[in-house]
């Protein structure tokens, strides 16, 4: 039985197969409309989420399956003190596959250790968010036509931004990628990420001002400074509007520098950018459903001819 805890659970070859499958689902949705008839996904969301939970549920429904679960720890037995291990043991009796989001890092790994059904990590604290990475990768592949040979700028909260950690670790298996980390000093990318890049021979740079580097980027991945990751409200208020991507900055960027964002966006991307053809963040959401459909099929080992 396979789980999806980090994008690294898949080889680059398996990722290609997954993206090919997602692309086929996009082209031929009817072909897959009954692939999961009679199957259920449990969405165990201990932490608030709109997009990811609905995306998983929509993905299963598009495949003919059903969804059950909870949204918020207060509505689950966690409020009574039940452990993740016990919850997943119980849920294994109700569903065929589970997507779990938890504010504590490693929760999905714990669930996978006690589960009888495939577990998908739908975000664990500031650690990993593999399906976001899969849809980010799919978006890059569809827009740039490749997953190698580019300079990617990653901007915002690089310390607690789990989407960033997952994305960098996954991209660090493809050729000739230069990473530009743009963040306030307090939200720098963690050392385990830069250690990994150094070990694998990738080049990277760290800077504070987006305007200093935007001209050389082929892709810009913006992130939100997340209030829920701060223990101190004062720090959050000071840092939340550190970056604002606006038309003036976009005029200096390359004509094919696509802007990605895991959403929700607050102030870090001005709404005036939304109509710019380089704004790719809403496309990501659509690709997210296709990728999650492909992932569900893969983990359930269901093949559609």
């Amino acid at each position: 039985m396979r789980h999806c805890l980090t994008p690294l659970d898949f080889t680059t070859q398996e990722l290609e197969q997954l993206f090919d499958l997602a692309a086929d689902i996009e082209k031929n949705p009817d072909k897959y409309a009954h692939a999961c008839d009679g199957k259920k996904i449990a969405t165990l969301f201990y932490e608030p989420s709109t997009r990811t939970r609905l995306s998983f549920e929509a993905a299963m429904m598009n495949l003919g399956g059903k969804a059950l679960g909870f949204a918020g720890a207060a509505q689950s037995s966690a409020a009574k003190g039940e452990s993740v291990a016990d919850t997943i043991r119980v849920v294994s009796c109700f569903a065929d596959i589970a997507a779990i989001r938890h504010n504590k890092e490693g929760a999905a790994y714990v669930a996978s250790q006690f589960s009888n059904i495939p577990v998908i990590n739908a975000g664990d604290g500031g650690h990993e968010h593999p399906t976001q990475t899969l849809l980010d990768m799919m978006t890059i592949r569809q827009l740039k036509g490749r997953l190698n040979h580019f300079t990617i700028g990653i901007c915002g909260d690089l310390k607690f931004g789990r989407t960033v950690h997952s994305l960098v670790k996954t991209l660090a298996r493809y050729d000739d990628i230069h990473f530009v980390f743009i963040s306030p000093p307090e939200l720098r990318v963690p050392d385990y990420i830069t250690d990994l890049l150094e070990e694998k021979g990738y080049t990277y740079e760290e800077c504070i001002k987006l305007e200093d580097v935007i001209t050389k980027l082929d892709l810009l991945y913006m992130t939100r400074v997340q209030r829920e990751r701060f223990f101190n409200e004062e720090d959050y208020v000071r840092l939340k509007d550190f970056y604002v991507l606006n038309e003036k900055l976009m005029r200096r960027a390359k004509n094919d520098m696509y802007v990605l964002h895991p959403l929700p966006r607050v102030n870090e991307i001005s709404v005036e950018i939304d109509k710019d053809p380089r704004a790719a963040y809403f496309k990501q959401v659509q690709y997210g459903v296709y990728v999650r459909m492909a992932l569900i099929l893969t983990l359930l080992d269901i093949h559609v001819d």
């Binding site: 993740v84 890092e105 790994y109 664990d124 604290g125 250690d195």
Partner: protein, 149 residues
Amino acid sequence: MLNVGKIENGIVLDHIEAGKAMLIYHYLHLDREDYQVAIIKNARSNELGRKDILKVECDPDSLSLDAVALIDPDITVNVIKGGIIVEKKKMTMPKQIVGVLKCHNPRCISSIEQELPHIFFLADARRKIYRCRYCEEKYSAGEREKWFR
């Protein structure tokens, strides 16, 4: 020359860097056991100049030596049975350490689910870096006291 009696069954930790014997005594939780223990500090050593030695009369299999490897993998472990050395072990960094280090990341699942074992894996053997199995927090040897359980 100081003479300390031989042990019948147990382990002798030799070539401990001078001054670290008490640290190892502590991390092996020997203060909680009834074993006979001899700690020799600053013994003369051809190899190291000075060294510490720790002798423990016990069932040799009863001690988890992962903590020893973590503090100083160059320590030699002599296993004594029936008064003679039956094995000389060179410590190697264990691939996984369970129940020795405690993760201090407040966002780690192990911080709220008390029954979970604290597991660290060897993430980088060359740089001797261990990380928490759950959250990948890096164990820092510089803050050893904080990390050991």
